[in-house]
Amino acid sequence: MTDDDLRNRLRRTDPAASLAPLPPDRVSRLLEESMSADVVALPARRRLLPVLAAAAVLLLAGAGWLVFRPSSSPTPTLPTAAPVHLAAPAGGQAKCREPQAATLAENADFAFAGTVTGIGDLVTLQVSKVYKGAAASTVQVEQQGDSSETLMGSGKFETGKSYLVAASAGTVLICGYSGEADAPGLLALYEQAF
């Protein structure tokens, strides 16, 4: 049996021979994930805060990019009559890439502008404009937790203030994709994305 015979015989048993090529959109998503997941682990939160102050655009976020990873779970249909509920992202420490309108448009399944009318167990926002997703007049969002730096602006929802909030599969998108409506660049990002 020559080398070529041996190789051909082995090749006929290649388990990946039937592997279909990855669709182009999955390839580009993988690329984007790799380049945007350039996580810089910072040892302690006290090191985080000065950096935050210096770079308002680069939000240091809890599982920021993790939240932004496309979820494989189906998008829940958001109710229109009852208030829409959105969860706060999980905490952690990571560095986000500068937000991109295209990424926002691709990942957010719900985005709106609204003003906080009340804060209880949940933060209630009166919707002034829905950029993407089902129409809603009221949205209830979990107050942002210890990873409060995830939200652009003060980092917490405050009564009377206006916010731009994007969500994917029921969870608020952070990493510079949600925050106070007058946070630098945020409104422009929304207008470009939607």
């Binding site: 041996l6 090749r11 290649d14 990855l22 790799s34």
Partner: protein, 175 residues
């Protein structure tokens, strides 16, 4: 290299890396682990882009190989498989059309490193120098090991062929 140059270079070569590494992983592990290790491999390629040689595929296989070894050490595969297999369909492969039990038995009879060098040669289609880059050994050593592994596989095939009582079966499989 500016960050824009880096992005451009990565975007230019990553699709080929994705394709090759997906195949490499589909041949060696379960779909859930393959999915994780592919992401990790790409991330390392992105971070270490400046170290990537011109012939980057063997280098990328080497990265994938180490990531896979880590993943398999660190994780209880069976549990993860049960939980995640439903969610990942990018790596599902069908068994080859004509199962070659004799070859499978012969490969199973080889030492792990011999079988792996043969897979890199036949499935990843690598030359000895490239195999050397994947395994982190010298080209000379790769060449010798490959030669011996082929010889051992032939010996094993003779054994299994003779044991099954049809010595001519390997001849019949020639194209």
């Amino acid at each position: 290299m500016t960050s824009e140059d880096r992005r451009e270079r990565f975007e230019a070569l990553a699709p080929a890396v994705i394709d090759a590494v997906r195949r490499y992983l589909a041949r060696r592990t379960d779909p859930a682990t393959a999915d994780d290790v592919l992401s990790e491999t790409l991330l390392i390629c992105w971070r270490r882009l400046d170290e990537m040689p011109g012939e980057y595929l063997p280098w990328a296989y080497g990265v994938a190989r180490r990531c896979l070894a880590n993943a398999e050490r660190a994780q209880r595969r069976q549990m993860r498989l049960a939980v995640r297999i439903a969610a990942v369909d990018d790596f599902v492969v069908r068994p080859p059309e004509a199962a070659d039990d004799e070859l499978a038995t012969a490969m199973a009879g080889l030492r792990g490193e011999d079988a792996e060098i043969l897979r890199l040669w036949a499935w990843e289609d690598l030359a000895p120098a490239q195999i050397a880059a994947v395994l982190g050994i010298t080209a000379n050593a790769a060449s010798i090991r490959l030669h011996r592994a082929k010889q051992r596989l032939r010996d094993e095939l003779r054994k299994t062929g003779a044991g099954a009582g049809h010595e001519e079966s390997t001849e019949g499989r020639r194209p």
